[in-house]
Symmetry: C2
Subunit: 258 residues, 2 copies
Amino acid sequence: MRNLRLTIAYDGTDFAGWQVQPGRLTIQGALASAIGRLTKENVLPQGSGRTDAGVHALAQVATFVTASPMPEGNWLRALNDILPAAIRITEVAEVPMEFHARKAAKAKTYRYRILRSPICPPLLARYVWHYPYPLEENSMEAAAHFVEGEHDFTSFAAVDPERVSRQAATPSIGGNHGSNVRTIFSSAWSWEEGEFIYTVRGNGFLHHMVRNLVGTFLLIGKGTLRSNDLPRIVDARVRASAGPTVPASGLYLVGVEY
Amino acid sequence: MRNLRLTIAYDGTDFAGWQVQPGRLTIQGALASAIGRLTKENVLPQGSGRTDAGVHALAQVATFVTASPMPEGNWLRALNDILPAAIRITEVAEVPMEFHARKAAKAKTYRYRILRSPICPPLLARYVWHYPYPLEENSMEAAAHFVEGEHDFTSFAAVDPERVSRQAATPSIGGNHGSNVRTIFSSAWSWEEGEFIYTVRGNGFLHHMVRNLVGTFLLIGKGTLRSNDLPRIVDARVRASAGPTVPASGLYLVGVEY
Protein backbone atom coordinates (compact mmCIF):
# COMPACT_ATOMS: atom_id res chain seq x y z
CA MET A 1 0.00 0.00 0.00
CA ARG A 2 1.10 3.57 -0.68
CA ASN A 3 0.07 6.91 0.76
CA LEU A 4 -0.41 9.55 -1.96
CA ARG A 5 -0.63 13.26 -1.28
CA LEU A 6 -2.67 15.40 -3.68
CA THR A 7 -2.42 19.17 -4.03
CA ILE A 8 -5.78 20.39 -5.30
CA ALA A 9 -7.09 23.68 -6.72
CA TYR A 10 -10.83 24.24 -7.03
CA ASP A 11 -13.52 26.71 -7.94
CA GLY A 12 -15.92 26.07 -5.06
CA THR A 13 -18.86 27.98 -6.56
CA ASP A 14 -20.87 25.00 -7.71
CA PHE A 15 -19.92 22.61 -4.88
CA ALA A 16 -21.58 21.98 -1.51
CA GLY A 17 -18.14 22.30 0.13
CA TRP A 18 -15.28 19.88 0.69
CA GLN A 19 -16.93 17.16 2.74
CA VAL A 20 -18.70 14.26 1.06
CA GLN A 21 -22.50 14.38 1.46
CA PRO A 22 -25.03 11.96 0.00
CA GLY A 23 -26.65 13.35 -3.15
CA ARG A 24 -24.59 16.57 -3.14
CA LEU A 25 -21.72 17.59 -5.39
CA THR A 26 -18.66 17.98 -3.12
CA ILE A 27 -14.91 18.20 -3.73
CA GLN A 28 -14.13 15.18 -1.55
CA GLY A 29 -16.89 13.19 -3.23
CA ALA A 30 -15.66 14.07 -6.73
CA LEU A 31 -12.11 13.04 -5.78
CA ALA A 32 -13.28 9.76 -4.23
CA SER A 33 -15.29 9.00 -7.34
CA ALA A 34 -12.35 9.77 -9.68
CA ILE A 35 -9.93 7.64 -7.63
CA GLY A 36 -12.52 4.87 -7.55
CA ARG A 37 -12.81 4.91 -11.33
CA LEU A 38 -9.05 4.49 -11.66
CA THR A 39 -8.44 1.88 -8.95
CA LYS A 40 -11.82 0.24 -8.27
CA GLU A 41 -10.89 0.96 -4.64
CA ASN A 42 -13.37 2.59 -2.30
CA VAL A 43 -11.27 5.36 -0.72
CA LEU A 44 -12.14 8.73 0.77
CA PRO A 45 -9.24 11.21 0.50
CA GLN A 46 -8.59 13.01 3.79
CA GLY A 47 -8.15 16.76 3.43
CA SER A 48 -6.13 19.22 5.53
CA GLY A 49 -9.53 20.50 6.67
CA ARG A 50 -12.96 21.25 5.26
CA THR A 51 -13.92 24.21 3.16
CA ASP A 52 -17.53 25.40 3.11
CA ALA A 53 -19.88 25.59 0.15
CA GLY A 54 -18.68 28.20 -2.36
CA VAL A 55 -15.18 28.53 -0.86
CA HIS A 56 -12.27 28.14 -3.32
CA ALA A 57 -8.83 26.58 -2.93
CA LEU A 58 -5.57 27.32 -4.67
CA ALA A 59 -3.73 24.48 -2.90
CA GLN A 60 -5.80 22.24 -0.67
CA VAL A 61 -3.94 19.09 0.40
CA ALA A 62 -5.39 15.58 0.82
CA THR A 63 -4.04 12.07 1.15
CA PHE A 64 -5.36 8.63 0.34
CA VAL A 65 -4.03 5.09 0.60
CA THR A 66 -4.02 2.88 -2.47
CA ALA A 67 -2.73 -0.47 -3.65
CA SER A 68 -2.35 0.87 -7.19
CA PRO A 69 1.20 0.76 -8.58
CA MET A 70 0.51 3.66 -11.01
CA PRO A 71 3.44 6.16 -11.11
CA GLU A 72 2.92 9.60 -9.54
CA GLY A 73 3.07 11.44 -12.88
CA ASN A 74 0.34 9.27 -14.37
CA TRP A 75 -1.93 9.88 -11.38
CA LEU A 76 -1.92 13.60 -12.07
CA ARG A 77 -2.97 13.27 -15.68
CA ALA A 78 -5.41 10.41 -15.07
CA LEU A 79 -7.24 12.23 -12.26
CA ASN A 80 -7.42 15.51 -14.20
CA ASP A 81 -8.85 13.64 -17.21
CA ILE A 82 -11.75 12.40 -15.06
CA LEU A 83 -12.34 15.35 -12.71
CA PRO A 84 -14.52 18.32 -13.72
CA ALA A 85 -12.55 21.40 -14.91
CA ALA A 86 -13.52 23.13 -11.64
CA ILE A 87 -11.16 20.74 -9.77
CA ARG A 88 -7.52 20.35 -10.79
CA ILE A 89 -4.82 18.21 -9.23
CA THR A 90 -1.64 20.29 -9.37
CA GLU A 91 0.73 17.82 -7.68
CA VAL A 92 0.85 14.16 -6.68
CA ALA A 93 3.57 12.86 -4.33
CA GLU A 94 4.09 9.59 -2.52
CA VAL A 95 4.51 10.29 1.19
CA PRO A 96 5.28 8.10 4.25
CA MET A 97 2.29 6.00 5.36
CA GLU A 98 2.11 7.94 8.65
CA PHE A 99 1.70 11.33 6.92
CA HIS A 100 -1.78 12.76 7.56
CA ALA A 101 -2.87 15.91 5.68
CA ARG A 102 -4.75 17.34 8.66
CA LYS A 103 -2.66 16.20 11.61
CA ALA A 104 0.68 17.08 10.01
CA ALA A 105 -0.35 20.63 9.00
CA LYS A 106 1.86 23.28 10.61
CA ALA A 107 0.13 26.33 9.15
CA LYS A 108 -2.63 27.31 6.75
CA THR A 109 -3.09 30.49 4.78
CA TYR A 110 -6.46 31.90 3.71
CA ARG A 111 -7.21 34.92 1.56
CA TYR A 112 -10.38 36.96 1.23
CA ARG A 113 -10.85 39.13 -1.88
CA ILE A 114 -13.10 42.21 -1.74
CA LEU A 115 -13.60 43.95 -5.07
CA ARG A 116 -13.91 47.71 -4.49
CA SER A 117 -14.73 48.93 -8.00
CA PRO A 118 -18.25 50.33 -8.66
CA ILE A 119 -19.15 47.49 -11.06
CA CYS A 120 -18.10 43.85 -10.68
CA PRO A 121 -16.95 42.44 -14.05
CA PRO A 122 -18.92 39.24 -14.82
CA LEU A 123 -15.67 37.25 -15.08
CA LEU A 124 -14.86 38.09 -11.45
CA ALA A 125 -18.35 37.63 -9.99
CA ARG A 126 -17.74 34.06 -8.83
CA TYR A 127 -14.30 34.81 -7.41
CA VAL A 128 -14.58 37.89 -5.21
CA TRP A 129 -17.03 39.53 -2.89
CA HIS A 130 -18.15 42.80 -4.45
CA TYR A 131 -18.43 45.59 -1.90
CA PRO A 132 -18.32 49.00 -3.64
CA TYR A 133 -19.41 51.15 -0.66
CA PRO A 134 -17.18 53.48 1.38
CA LEU A 135 -14.78 51.86 3.85
CA GLU A 136 -12.04 53.24 6.10
CA GLU A 137 -9.46 50.77 4.83
CA ASN A 138 -6.73 52.17 7.11
CA SER A 139 -8.77 51.24 10.19
CA MET A 140 -9.29 47.73 8.83
CA GLU A 141 -5.56 47.36 8.27
CA ALA A 142 -4.86 48.48 11.83
CA ALA A 143 -7.48 46.10 13.22
CA ALA A 144 -6.13 43.07 11.36
CA HIS A 145 -2.91 43.05 13.39
CA PHE A 146 -4.82 42.86 16.70
CA VAL A 147 -5.69 39.21 16.08
CA GLU A 148 -2.07 38.13 15.57
CA GLY A 149 -0.76 35.84 18.30
CA GLU A 150 -2.49 33.17 20.41
CA HIS A 151 -6.11 33.89 21.25
CA ASP A 152 -9.36 32.15 22.08
CA PHE A 153 -11.34 32.81 18.89
CA THR A 154 -14.79 31.77 20.19
CA SER A 155 -16.19 35.19 19.17
CA PHE A 156 -15.39 34.31 15.55
CA ALA A 157 -16.50 30.66 15.52
CA ALA A 158 -19.75 29.66 13.87
CA VAL A 159 -22.51 28.86 16.34
CA ASP A 160 -24.12 25.87 14.67
CA PRO A 161 -25.02 22.27 15.42
CA GLU A 162 -21.95 21.13 13.49
CA ARG A 163 -19.66 23.23 15.62
CA VAL A 164 -18.08 20.53 17.74
CA SER A 165 -17.42 18.18 14.85
CA ARG A 166 -16.24 21.05 12.67
CA GLN A 167 -13.69 22.15 15.23
CA ALA A 168 -12.31 18.64 15.37
CA ALA A 169 -11.77 18.93 11.64
CA THR A 170 -9.47 21.95 11.87
CA PRO A 171 -7.58 21.71 15.16
CA SER A 172 -4.53 23.75 15.99
CA ILE A 173 -1.13 22.14 15.64
CA GLY A 174 -0.78 21.85 19.42
CA GLY A 175 -3.55 19.29 19.29
CA ASN A 176 -5.87 21.12 21.70
CA HIS A 177 -9.00 19.59 20.19
CA GLY A 178 -12.20 21.09 21.49
CA SER A 179 -10.42 24.30 22.42
CA ASN A 180 -11.04 27.51 20.47
CA VAL A 181 -7.49 28.72 21.04
CA ARG A 182 -5.55 29.25 17.82
CA THR A 183 -2.34 31.04 16.93
CA ILE A 184 -2.41 33.57 14.10
CA PHE A 185 1.07 34.13 12.66
CA SER A 186 0.10 37.02 10.38
CA SER A 187 -3.06 38.94 9.61
CA ALA A 188 -3.01 41.84 7.16
CA TRP A 189 -4.84 43.68 4.40
CA SER A 190 -3.31 44.64 1.08
CA TRP A 191 -4.33 46.11 -2.29
CA GLU A 192 -4.10 44.28 -5.60
CA GLU A 193 -5.70 45.49 -8.85
CA GLY A 194 -8.70 47.24 -7.32
CA GLU A 195 -9.20 44.51 -4.73
CA PHE A 196 -8.77 44.93 -0.98
CA ILE A 197 -7.46 41.55 0.15
CA TYR A 198 -7.19 40.02 3.61
CA THR A 199 -4.49 37.40 4.09
CA VAL A 200 -4.28 35.38 7.29
CA ARG A 201 -1.85 32.61 8.24
CA GLY A 202 -2.35 30.55 11.37
CA ASN A 203 -1.96 27.13 12.96
CA GLY A 204 -5.66 26.35 12.60
CA PHE A 205 -9.01 28.00 11.96
CA LEU A 206 -12.46 27.50 13.49
CA HIS A 207 -15.56 27.05 11.34
CA HIS A 208 -16.35 30.38 9.57
CA MET A 209 -13.46 32.06 11.42
CA VAL A 210 -11.93 33.87 8.44
CA ARG A 211 -15.31 35.06 7.13
CA ASN A 212 -16.30 36.23 10.62
CA LEU A 213 -13.00 38.09 11.06
CA VAL A 214 -13.55 39.82 7.70
CA GLY A 215 -17.15 40.64 8.69
CA THR A 216 -15.83 42.23 11.89
CA PHE A 217 -13.15 44.21 10.04
CA LEU A 218 -15.94 45.37 7.75
CA LEU A 219 -17.88 46.85 10.69
CA ILE A 220 -14.65 48.68 11.59
CA GLY A 221 -14.30 49.90 7.99
CA LYS A 222 -17.87 51.20 8.10
CA GLY A 223 -17.22 53.02 11.39
CA THR A 224 -19.72 50.90 13.34
CA LEU A 225 -16.79 49.62 15.43
CA ARG A 226 -13.28 50.99 16.00
CA SER A 227 -10.10 49.04 15.40
CA ASN A 228 -9.22 49.13 19.09
CA ASP A 229 -12.57 47.46 19.88
CA LEU A 230 -11.02 44.20 18.64
CA PRO A 231 -9.29 43.11 21.89
CA ARG A 232 -12.63 43.53 23.71
CA ILE A 233 -14.45 41.46 21.03
CA VAL A 234 -11.86 38.69 21.29
CA ASP A 235 -12.02 38.73 25.11
CA ALA A 236 -15.83 38.51 25.11
CA ARG A 237 -15.67 34.97 23.66
CA VAL A 238 -19.24 35.43 22.45
CA ARG A 239 -20.13 35.12 18.77
CA ALA A 240 -22.62 38.01 19.02
CA SER A 241 -19.84 40.45 19.92
CA ALA A 242 -18.23 40.11 16.47
CA GLY A 243 -19.39 41.02 12.95
CA PRO A 244 -21.43 39.06 10.40
CA THR A 245 -20.20 36.22 8.17
CA VAL A 246 -19.22 37.59 4.75
CA PRO A 247 -20.10 35.58 1.58
CA ALA A 248 -18.10 32.49 0.62
CA SER A 249 -17.29 33.70 -2.94
CA GLY A 250 -14.33 35.83 -1.77
CA LEU A 251 -12.61 33.13 0.33
CA TYR A 252 -9.61 31.03 -0.76
CA LEU A 253 -7.62 28.36 1.00
CA VAL A 254 -4.27 29.51 -0.39
CA GLY A 255 -2.04 26.80 0.99
CA VAL A 256 -1.12 24.37 3.76
CA GLU A 257 2.38 24.13 5.23
CA TYR A 258 3.91 20.94 6.63
CA MET B 1 -39.77 58.15 -26.55
CA ARG B 2 -36.01 57.82 -26.05
CA ASN B 3 -33.42 55.51 -27.57
CA LEU B 4 -31.01 54.17 -24.91
CA ARG B 5 -27.70 52.50 -25.72
CA LEU B 6 -26.41 49.89 -23.28
CA THR B 7 -22.81 48.67 -23.08
CA ILE B 8 -22.91 45.15 -21.68
CA ALA B 9 -20.31 42.72 -20.31
CA TYR B 10 -21.21 39.07 -19.80
CA ASP B 11 -19.91 35.66 -18.83
CA GLY B 12 -21.59 33.59 -21.55
CA THR B 13 -20.87 30.19 -19.96
CA ASP B 14 -24.33 29.56 -18.57
CA PHE B 15 -26.31 31.22 -21.38
CA ALA B 16 -27.71 29.82 -24.62
CA GLY B 17 -26.19 32.79 -26.47
CA TRP B 18 -27.36 36.34 -27.08
CA GLN B 19 -30.60 35.81 -28.95
CA VAL B 20 -33.87 35.34 -27.06
CA GLN B 21 -35.23 31.79 -27.26
CA PRO B 22 -38.37 30.44 -25.57
CA GLY B 23 -37.53 28.54 -22.39
CA ARG B 24 -33.77 29.18 -22.63
CA LEU B 25 -31.60 31.53 -20.59
CA THR B 26 -30.20 34.12 -23.04
CA ILE B 27 -28.53 37.50 -22.64
CA GLN B 28 -31.13 39.32 -24.76
CA GLY B 29 -33.92 37.59 -22.85
CA ALA B 30 -32.44 38.53 -19.46
CA LEU B 31 -32.08 42.16 -20.57
CA ALA B 32 -35.64 42.28 -21.93
CA SER B 33 -36.94 40.86 -18.67
CA ALA B 34 -34.96 43.35 -16.55
CA ILE B 35 -36.11 46.33 -18.66
CA GLY B 36 -39.67 45.01 -18.49
CA ARG B 37 -39.54 44.88 -14.69
CA LEU B 38 -38.46 48.53 -14.56
CA THR B 39 -40.76 49.99 -17.21
CA LYS B 40 -43.62 47.49 -17.65
CA GLU B 41 -42.81 47.93 -21.34
CA ASN B 42 -42.40 44.92 -23.62
CA VAL B 43 -39.12 45.72 -25.41
CA LEU B 44 -36.42 43.56 -26.96
CA PRO B 45 -33.01 45.28 -26.94
CA GLN B 46 -31.30 45.06 -30.33
CA GLY B 47 -27.64 44.03 -30.13
CA SER B 48 -24.73 44.85 -32.43
CA GLY B 49 -24.91 41.17 -33.41
CA ARG B 50 -25.45 37.77 -31.86
CA THR B 51 -22.98 35.83 -29.79
CA ASP B 52 -23.28 32.05 -29.58
CA ALA B 53 -23.83 29.92 -26.49
CA GLY B 54 -20.83 30.12 -24.16
CA VAL B 55 -19.27 33.17 -25.86
CA HIS B 56 -18.38 36.09 -23.57
CA ALA B 57 -18.51 39.84 -24.09
CA LEU B 58 -16.48 42.64 -22.58
CA ALA B 59 -18.48 45.36 -24.33
CA GLN B 60 -21.49 44.23 -26.37
CA VAL B 61 -23.72 47.13 -27.41
CA ALA B 62 -27.51 47.12 -27.62
CA THR B 63 -30.26 49.72 -27.90
CA PHE B 64 -33.89 49.87 -26.88
CA VAL B 65 -36.65 52.45 -27.10
CA THR B 66 -38.53 53.43 -23.96
CA ALA B 67 -41.05 55.97 -22.74
CA SER B 68 -39.48 55.92 -19.26
CA PRO B 69 -38.14 59.31 -18.09
CA MET B 70 -35.61 57.63 -15.73
CA PRO B 71 -32.18 59.40 -15.87
CA GLU B 72 -29.28 57.50 -17.54
CA GLY B 73 -27.35 57.08 -14.28
CA ASN B 74 -30.32 55.44 -12.56
CA TRP B 75 -30.77 52.99 -15.44
CA LEU B 76 -27.30 51.60 -14.90
CA ARG B 77 -27.82 50.88 -11.21
CA ALA B 78 -31.42 49.72 -11.57
CA LEU B 79 -30.60 47.22 -14.35
CA ASN B 80 -27.54 45.86 -12.52
CA ASP B 81 -29.65 45.39 -9.37
CA ILE B 82 -32.02 43.11 -11.32
CA LEU B 83 -29.66 41.31 -13.72
CA PRO B 84 -27.70 38.21 -12.69
CA ALA B 85 -24.05 38.87 -11.73
CA ALA B 86 -23.00 37.20 -15.01
CA ILE B 87 -24.39 40.21 -16.92
CA ARG B 88 -23.30 43.77 -16.11
CA ILE B 89 -24.32 47.01 -17.73
CA THR B 90 -21.18 49.16 -17.84
CA GLU B 91 -22.64 52.23 -19.57
CA VAL B 92 -26.02 53.72 -20.45
CA ALA B 93 -26.30 56.62 -22.89
CA GLU B 94 -29.23 58.31 -24.60
CA VAL B 95 -28.62 58.30 -28.37
CA PRO B 96 -30.52 59.74 -31.38
CA MET B 97 -33.66 57.76 -32.25
CA GLU B 98 -32.14 56.71 -35.59
CA PHE B 99 -29.07 55.08 -33.95
CA HIS B 100 -29.11 51.29 -34.45
CA ALA B 101 -26.53 49.12 -32.63
CA ARG B 102 -26.10 46.74 -35.56
CA LYS B 103 -26.51 49.00 -38.59
CA ALA B 104 -24.33 51.79 -37.21
CA ALA B 105 -21.41 49.50 -36.26
CA LYS B 106 -18.19 50.45 -38.11
CA ALA B 107 -15.97 47.73 -36.64
CA LYS B 108 -15.99 44.92 -34.13
CA THR B 109 -13.14 43.33 -32.25
CA TYR B 110 -13.07 39.73 -31.04
CA ARG B 111 -10.46 37.97 -28.95
CA TYR B 112 -9.78 34.25 -28.52
CA ARG B 113 -7.79 33.09 -25.47
CA ILE B 114 -5.83 29.83 -25.60
CA LEU B 115 -4.23 28.83 -22.30
CA ARG B 116 -0.91 27.07 -23.03
CA SER B 117 0.09 25.97 -19.49
CA PRO B 118 0.06 22.22 -18.70
CA ILE B 119 -2.77 22.55 -16.17
CA CYS B 120 -5.74 24.91 -16.47
CA PRO B 121 -6.40 26.64 -13.12
CA PRO B 122 -10.07 26.11 -12.13
CA LEU B 123 -10.62 29.87 -11.95
CA LEU B 124 -9.77 30.17 -15.66
CA ALA B 125 -11.60 27.07 -16.92
CA ARG B 126 -14.73 28.97 -17.97
CA TYR B 127 -12.80 31.80 -19.58
CA VAL B 128 -10.19 30.27 -21.89
CA TRP B 129 -9.74 27.29 -24.14
CA HIS B 130 -7.08 25.05 -22.63
CA TYR B 131 -4.75 23.61 -25.26
CA PRO B 132 -1.47 22.46 -23.66
CA TYR B 133 -0.06 20.53 -26.63
CA PRO B 134 2.82 21.61 -28.89
CA LEU B 135 2.10 24.35 -31.44
CA GLU B 136 4.30 26.25 -33.86
CA GLU B 137 3.10 29.62 -32.66
CA ASN B 138 5.30 31.52 -35.13
CA SER B 139 3.51 29.88 -38.06
CA MET B 140 0.15 30.79 -36.55
CA GLU B 141 1.27 34.42 -36.20
CA ALA B 142 2.37 34.48 -39.83
CA ALA B 143 -0.90 32.91 -40.98
CA ALA B 144 -3.08 35.41 -39.10
CA HIS B 145 -1.97 38.30 -41.30
CA PHE B 146 -3.05 36.49 -44.50
CA VAL B 147 -6.73 37.13 -43.68
CA GLU B 148 -6.29 40.91 -43.35
CA GLY B 149 -8.05 42.87 -46.09
CA GLU B 150 -11.29 42.24 -47.97
CA HIS B 151 -12.07 38.58 -48.64
CA ASP B 152 -14.96 36.22 -49.21
CA PHE B 153 -14.95 34.27 -45.92
CA THR B 154 -17.30 31.45 -47.00
CA SER B 155 -14.63 28.88 -46.03
CA PHE B 156 -14.92 30.10 -42.42
CA ALA B 157 -18.72 30.49 -42.21
CA ALA B 158 -20.81 27.93 -40.33
CA VAL B 159 -22.74 25.61 -42.60
CA ASP B 160 -26.02 25.35 -40.73
CA PRO B 161 -29.73 25.89 -41.28
CA GLU B 162 -29.51 29.22 -39.50
CA ARG B 163 -26.80 30.45 -41.80
CA VAL B 164 -28.80 32.85 -43.92
CA SER B 165 -30.55 34.50 -41.00
CA ARG B 166 -27.32 34.57 -39.00
CA GLN B 167 -25.48 36.38 -41.71
CA ALA B 168 -28.20 38.99 -41.84
CA ALA B 169 -27.51 39.62 -38.17
CA THR B 170 -23.84 40.50 -38.66
CA PRO B 171 -23.48 42.16 -42.04
CA SER B 172 -20.48 44.16 -43.09
CA ILE B 173 -20.63 47.91 -42.83
CA GLY B 174 -21.00 48.26 -46.58
CA GLY B 175 -24.41 46.66 -46.20
CA ASN B 176 -23.72 43.76 -48.57
CA HIS B 177 -26.28 41.51 -46.85
CA GLY B 178 -26.22 37.95 -48.05
CA SER B 179 -22.62 38.29 -49.20
CA ASN B 180 -19.81 36.54 -47.34
CA VAL B 181 -17.35 39.32 -48.15
CA ARG B 182 -15.93 41.03 -45.07
CA THR B 183 -13.00 43.33 -44.44
CA ILE B 184 -10.54 42.40 -41.70
CA PHE B 185 -8.62 45.46 -40.49
CA SER B 186 -6.20 43.55 -38.27
CA SER B 187 -5.60 39.91 -37.38
CA ALA B 188 -2.77 38.93 -35.04
CA TRP B 189 -1.64 36.63 -32.24
CA SER B 190 0.01 37.82 -29.03
CA TRP B 191 1.17 36.43 -25.67
CA GLU B 192 -0.27 37.48 -22.32
CA GLU B 193 0.42 35.67 -19.02
CA GLY B 194 0.79 32.18 -20.44
CA GLU B 195 -2.05 32.67 -22.92
CA PHE B 196 -1.71 32.76 -26.70
CA ILE B 197 -4.37 35.23 -27.77
CA TYR B 198 -5.87 35.93 -31.18
CA THR B 199 -7.26 39.41 -31.72
CA VAL B 200 -9.21 40.25 -34.85
CA ARG B 201 -10.89 43.52 -35.85
CA GLY B 202 -13.15 43.73 -38.87
CA ASN B 203 -16.24 45.36 -40.35
CA GLY B 204 -18.35 42.26 -39.76
CA PHE B 205 -18.11 38.57 -38.99
CA LEU B 206 -19.96 35.51 -40.31
CA HIS B 207 -21.45 32.90 -37.97
CA HIS B 208 -18.59 30.95 -36.27
CA MET B 209 -16.05 32.90 -38.35
CA VAL B 210 -13.61 33.73 -35.54
CA ARG B 211 -13.74 30.21 -34.06
CA ASN B 212 -13.23 28.70 -37.53
CA LEU B 213 -10.29 31.00 -38.23
CA VAL B 214 -8.71 29.96 -34.91
CA GLY B 215 -9.38 26.29 -35.72
CA THR B 216 -7.60 26.78 -39.04
CA PHE B 217 -4.64 28.56 -37.42
CA LEU B 218 -4.52 25.61 -35.02
CA LEU B 219 -4.05 23.15 -37.90
CA ILE B 220 -1.19 25.37 -39.05
CA GLY B 221 0.26 25.39 -35.52
CA LYS B 222 0.08 21.59 -35.45
CA GLY B 223 1.83 21.36 -38.83
CA THR B 224 -1.19 19.79 -40.57
CA LEU B 225 -1.36 22.90 -42.78
CA ARG B 226 1.22 25.59 -43.60
CA SER B 227 0.69 29.29 -43.09
CA ASN B 228 0.88 29.93 -46.83
CA ASP B 229 -1.98 27.46 -47.38
CA LEU B 230 -4.30 30.19 -46.13
CA PRO B 231 -4.83 32.08 -49.42
CA ARG B 232 -5.83 28.77 -51.05
CA ILE B 233 -8.27 27.99 -48.21
CA VAL B 234 -9.85 31.44 -48.51
CA ASP B 235 -10.09 31.13 -52.30
CA ALA B 236 -11.75 27.70 -52.07
CA ARG B 237 -14.89 29.27 -50.53
CA VAL B 238 -15.76 25.85 -49.14
CA ARG B 239 -16.19 25.28 -45.41
CA ALA B 240 -14.50 21.86 -45.60
CA SER B 241 -11.22 23.45 -46.76
CA ALA B 242 -10.72 25.20 -43.39
CA GLY B 243 -10.14 23.90 -39.86
CA PRO B 244 -12.60 22.90 -37.12
CA THR B 245 -14.61 25.22 -34.86
CA VAL B 246 -12.79 25.72 -31.55
CA PRO B 247 -14.80 25.81 -28.27
CA ALA B 248 -16.83 28.88 -27.30
CA SER B 249 -15.21 29.30 -23.85
CA GLY B 250 -12.18 31.16 -25.26
CA LEU B 251 -14.10 33.71 -27.36
CA TYR B 252 -14.84 37.32 -26.38
CA LEU B 253 -16.63 40.13 -28.15
CA VAL B 254 -14.20 42.82 -27.00
CA GLY B 255 -15.92 45.87 -28.41
CA VAL B 256 -17.95 47.54 -31.12
CA GLU B 257 -16.93 50.79 -32.78
CA TYR B 258 -19.34 53.41 -34.15
